[in-house]
């Protein structure tokens, strides 16, 4: 058969300007990150020490887990606002299991994860089955989960040997060391949550890019209708995504509980915004233009580094917000400006 080229490949050599623009689109975010690191390490000699770097990584481990969940929901074209409350619930649940019911490690890990999966199913039911738009459906679930976990603890945080809220004396259990290890321990002098995070990021990256299921997630989000017509069970994959989102949020909650040694009510609330921000910054990394886990990880690193470095530079926390916002805009401007003329 004669080959006839209708695609007319564009001239491979774009002109210089084009290439610069392309370069910034791909590497703008990373460049911004490099610049931030440079500035901080110049202004503060403590910044690039091993201790501080592992601290930064440890500090972002929880947000990264949340953000990975958010990334999944975004990949299938959805959005999960309930992750923050799921973190809170998981934190409180593991606290309660340890302190109120003196349960074993396995139970303390499993129950919150199952709860996270359940919340994911509820979200999926509401968004996929009842077809309530994702933003509002998961917002409603957020309210509900927040209410449930506060009602369960009557608004108290849960800590070792606390007086029981119903006045029946002191709680029998404590935060056992094996559990605290998850948040505070070290392996080979690396904080355990950092190891956990890196392993999970790597696995999720492999999963999303090199497995069939991973690609189906992307297909579902890219064009639900086309994916459906190609035989992808899109609703099933959307359901999976919400369940995965819930499970990651629960995992984040467990790490959080282990890190602070408390079943702190409402502890997950602040994680929502940062998780979403990390996932969104991730869009721009390597010019991906779509949610991706490596990008999300880098997004979390940017947020973490900013917080750490600016605190070290003694910038008041509210002024930090200005810089955080400014850098967000700056990094993204590099990426998005001139994207489509």
């Amino acid at each position: 058969m004669k080959q006839l080229n209708i695609s007319s490949d564009y001239p491979q050599q774009a002109d210089l300007k084009e290439r610069i623009v392309n370069f910034f689109m791909k590497f703008g975010t990373l460049l911004a990150l490099a610049l931030i690191i440079l500035i901080f390490s110049l202004t503060n000699e403590q910044f690039l020490t091993y201790g501080n770097i592992t601290d930064i990584l440890r500090s972002i481990s929880i947000v990264t887990l949340v953000a990975i969940g958010v990334t999944f929901s975004m990949i299938v074209g959805g959005f999960d606002l309930s992750v923050g409350s799921t973190v809170s619930l998981a934190t409180v649940a593991s606290g309660a299991l340890l302190v109120w019911y003196s349960q074993e490690l396995l139970v303390v890990l499993l129950v919150p994860l199952v709860l996270g999966a359940l919340i994911g199913l509820i979200n999926a039911f509401i968004v996929v089955k009842i077809r309530i738009p994702d933003l509002i459906g998961t917002l409603a679930v957020m309210y509900i989960i927040n209410g449930v976990h506060l009602t369960y603890t009557k608004g108290y945080s849960i800590y070792s040997n606390m007086p029981m809220p119903d006045g029946s004396g002191t709680a029998p259990g404590i935060f056992i060391p094996a559990f605290q290890f998850i948040g505070q321990g070290r392996l080979f002098n690396i904080p355990f949550p950092v190891i956990l995070m890196v392993v999970i990021v790597a696995l999720v990256h492999l999963f999303l890019n090199y497995t069939r299921a991973g690609r189906l997630f992307y297909m579902t989000g890219g064009n639900k209708e086309a994916a459906r017509l190609s035989g992808v069970p899109v609703n099933r994959y959307r359901t999976y995504a919400y369940v995965i989102s819930g499970v990651f949020a629960a995992l984040a909650g467990i790490v959080l509980a282990a890190r602070i040694g408390t079943g702190q009510v409402s502890a997950g609330d602040p994680l929502l915004m940062d998780g979403v921000a990390a996932a969104l910054i991730g869009y721009s990394v390597f010019g991906a233009g779509k949610p991706n886990v490596i990008g999300t990880f880098i997004g979390a690193i940017i947020i973490g580094i900013l917080l750490n470095g600016l605190t070290m530079m003694n910038v008041p926390y509210y002024a930090q917000d200005i810089i955080k916002g400014g850098i967000l805009v700056g990094a993204l401007a590099l990426t998005y400006f001139r994207k489509k003329e």
Binding site: Q46, S59, S157, G261, P270, L307, Y317
Partner: protein, 367 residues
């Protein structure tokens, strides 16, 4: 002054309600303050503090008037000593607080102040700090690591002080409204006393309870109090409101004022310049509050830290005495935090934890 009042309030508090640590605290306080409140003199300035020190203050949150005044208290005292204080605000995020503590240690600061937070989250960091020779003084949390001085404003006494006044005013019986939200150590502690109070006064009954803490706590409380007032429209159906956090008290007070239900009295906890103004308004329903001076708390905390750096002995526990401020004790003209002490006996303890060399140090840096 503080040594007189503290045991008094302890005695009256129902036994089962007062956690043991509080009693212990009171006892140690007695020793500590007598020991530390020595006379000012031109003692020699220890070399360890005779240079600009870098102090880190790790705070769980820094919004609200209490926190703001606490921060300015910290800054004022450290500045007087010629040091520099860096505020690490965790914005109500405990894991962030732990991170901040770590960052401060990495920074190699000379001393660390911790405000609120929880032991489980911070113990690890505190221990690491001590290992590295960085002294730590905490305020209002449950950290009990050896070598740390823990000061507190004694939430149990605060709650009991204002509740006792309420009990007297309503004569031990009546309908009250309770504003409360969990999740915050101080509020949880105050609640312990409140539960005990209800048991102690069986004729006092709680008819409504609401409350939530957000960045807009006062307005939320105001809206919710309005709903409660609508539910109990008859005069006399509510006798008092217990609002153990000044943001609650502010909202409730405004709701009552705007509804013209001045017969309902508000009993609060905490005090700020703004609170003082509201309390001093004519016919303000907010009649009583129990509080310590946040700036004063900060001052004591900083001075303990400097003592530690100077190598002096400091107690492991020190509780500041709260005072009960009744509007009736205040004069008619507006009063500010700075001069509450002139009208309320026992307000503030400017000489707590003061070493002889501190005046010299302050004088030197004040030029």
């Amino acid at each position: 002054a503080c040594t007189d009042q503290q045991p008094a309030s302890q005695e009256e508090a129902p036994e089962e309600a007062v956690a043991e640590e509080s009693t212990e605290a009171a006892e140690e306080t007695e020793e500590a303050s007598t020991e530390q409140t020595s006379q000012a003199g031109d003692a020699e300035i220890p070399a360890a503090v005779d240079k600009p020190l870098k102090i880190a203050a790790i705070m769980e949150f820094s919004t609200g008037t209490f926190a703001s005044q606490y921060v300015s208290g910290l800054e004022a005292q450290v500045e007087k000593f010629g040091g520099e204080v860096q505020i690490y605000n965790a914005n109500n995020d405990l894991s962030q607080m732990a991170n901040h503590l770590q960052t401060a240690i990495n920074q190699g600061v000379d001393g660390i102040l911790i405000d609120h937070g929880r032991a489980e989250a911070l113990n690890q960091g505190v221990e690491e700090a001590l290992e590295k020779g960085i002294p730590v003084v905490t305020f209002d949390n449950d950290i009990t690591v050896d070598g740390v001085t823990a000061i507190s404003q004694d939430d149990y006494s605060l709650a009991w002080g204002t509740l006792k006044q309420m009990a007297q005013d309503i004569d031990g019986e009546g309908n009250i409204v309770y504003v409360w939200a969990g999740g915050f150590t101080p509020l949880e502690r105050r609640n312990v006393i409140y539960e005990a109070f209800l048991e102690h006064y069986p004729n006092v009954s709680e008819v409504a309870r609401f409350g939530s803490v957000s960045n807009n706590t006062a307005l939320d409380s105001q809206n919710q109090m309005e709903a409660v007032l609508k539910k109990y429209p008859e005069e006399g159906s509510i006798d008092a409101v217990f609002a153990p956090y000044d943001e609650f008290a502010k909202g409730v007070t405004r709701a009552i004022q705007q509804a013209g239900r001045d017969e309902i009295k508000v009993y609060g906890i905490d005090l700020s310049d703004e609170d003082l103004q509201i309390m001093q308004e004519e016919n303000s329903p907010w009649v009583t509050t129990a509080a310590t001076d946040p700036a004063e708390v900060a001052g004591v905390q900083v001075r303990f830290l400097y003592q530690k750096i100077a190598g002096e002995e400091t107690p492991s526990i020190y509780a500041l005495d709260p005072s009960v401020v009744n509007v009736s004790d205040l004069p008619d003209e507006p009063v500010t935090m700075a001069d509450v002490g002139q009208h309320i006996e026992g307000w503030g303890s400017p000489n707590a934890a003061r070493s002889p060399w501190m005046d010299a140090l302050e004088a030197k840096n004040g030029q």
